[in-house]
Subunit: 156 residues, 2 copies
DNA sequence: TATGGCCTTGGAGTGCACTCCAAGCAAGCG
DNA sequence: CGCTTGCTTGGAGTGCACTCCAAGGCCATA
C-alpha cells in the first residue's frame, strides 16, 4: 500500500469529527511518543505491532526513528476498534496481509469484515442479555433490605 | 446473521425454568460431566473455578465426587455472563467472597453490580461505534470494484 | 563536553485464564 | 478378576497480548 493520499480530507463520510491533534497532510509525521499520547498504546506495543506485521510499514527519519503518518493513525484507530470486538491479533494481522497483497484479496477482505460484523452483533446481543440479568439483580438489591438482598443471590 | 432480538420470554422472576435440562429441586444433583455439557466449560475449568474461590462450595457424593445443584448452575450462568463482559476472574472471585461473607456486604455487592452495569453499557457503546466503522467499510467494499475496494482502506 | 531525553533493537519476562498431566481411586460389567 | 469409564488431586504447561530489559545511538541545551 503506501499509495499517495489523494482525498483532500477524511471527514468525508458521516461527518467524522475525529482527531483534533492531527496535523494536515504533508506535515503528518509523528514520533512514537506522540502516537503513544494519541492512541493510549505503549511504545512497546506499537513496536510489537510492527514486528508481528500488524502495521503497514512505518516511515523512518534520517536517523532511523519511526515517523507515523495520518494513515498510520487511521490504521491504529481501526485496529483499536477491532481489538474491542475481541478479534485476535492474529486475525488482524491476516487482514493487514490481505491489504498488503493488493486488490486481488478484495473478496477475502470483504468476507472477513462481514464475519467480524456478525461477531460484533452477537457480542452486542450477549451484552444486552447480560445487562438484563444485571438490571434484575440490581433491582432486587435496590428494593431489598439486607435479608432480601441475600435472597437476590438465589435467582439467576 | 443470527438475529437475536431480545426475547421477552426471559423475564423469569423466580419462576419459569429457563433450562430444559434441569431437574426439579431435591433431585438437582449433577456430575461434573453433566455440568460440562450444560455450560460448555471444561471439567478442568470447573475444578479450577472452585480452587480459586469462584464457586460457592460444591457438594460431594459419598465417594468424594462433585455434585452440582441448580444453585450452582445458576451461579455458573451468572459467571458466564460476567465473563462475557470482560470482567476479570479476580473481580468475580471478589463478588463471590462478598456473597459468602453474608448480608453485611450488601452495599459492596450493590456497588459492584452497578459498576459492572456501567462497564457493560460502555462496552455496548464501543461495539456500536465499531459496528458503524465496519458498516462503512463494508459498504465501500460492497459498492466497489477492486480499485475502489483498495480506496476503502484509506478511510477510517 | 557532558548531561538528559528520546529513540533503537532482540530477546526475555509477565499476567491472565485456562489446559493438561500423571497417578490413583471407585463403580459397573463380563 | 481384569477392564473400562469417570472422577479425584496438585502442580506444571500453554497461548495470548503485551511488557520490560539491557545496551546503545542521536542530538539539543548548559
Amino acid at each position: 500500500m503506501t499509495v499517495m493520499e489523494t482525498t483532500p480530507t477524511r471527514t468525508d463520510l458521516c461527518g467524522a469529527p475525529p482527531h483534533p491533534h492531527r496535523r494536515p497532510e504533508g506535515e503528518d509525521s509523528y514520533t512514537i511518543s506522540e502516537v503513544v499520547a494519541f492512541t493510549g498504546l505503549t511504545a512497546h506495543t506499537l513496536r510489537w505491532y510492527e514486528r508481528i506485521g500488524l502495521m503497514p510499514h512505518v516511515d523512518r527519519s534520517h536517523t532511523g526513528q519511526r515517523r507515523y503518518s495520518n494513515r498510520d493513525l487511521d490504521w491504529l484507530d481501526l485496529v483499536g476498534k477491532l481489538r474491542l470486538t475481541g478479534m485476535p491479533v492474529a486475525d488482524m494481522v491476516r487482514y493487514a496481509e490481505l491489504v498488503r497483497e493488493g486488490d486481488h484479496t478484495f473478496g477475502d477482505r470483504f468476507e472477513l469484515l462481514e464475519a467480524t460484523r456478525r461477531d460484533v452483533l452477537t457480542r452486542i446481543a450477549e451484552l444486552q442479555d447480560t445487562l438484563a440479568v444485571l438490571d434484575r439483580k440490581i433491582s432486587f438489591y435496590a428494593d431489598a433490605d439486607g435479608a432480601r438482598a441475600y435472597e437476590a443471590e438465589k435467582v439467576r
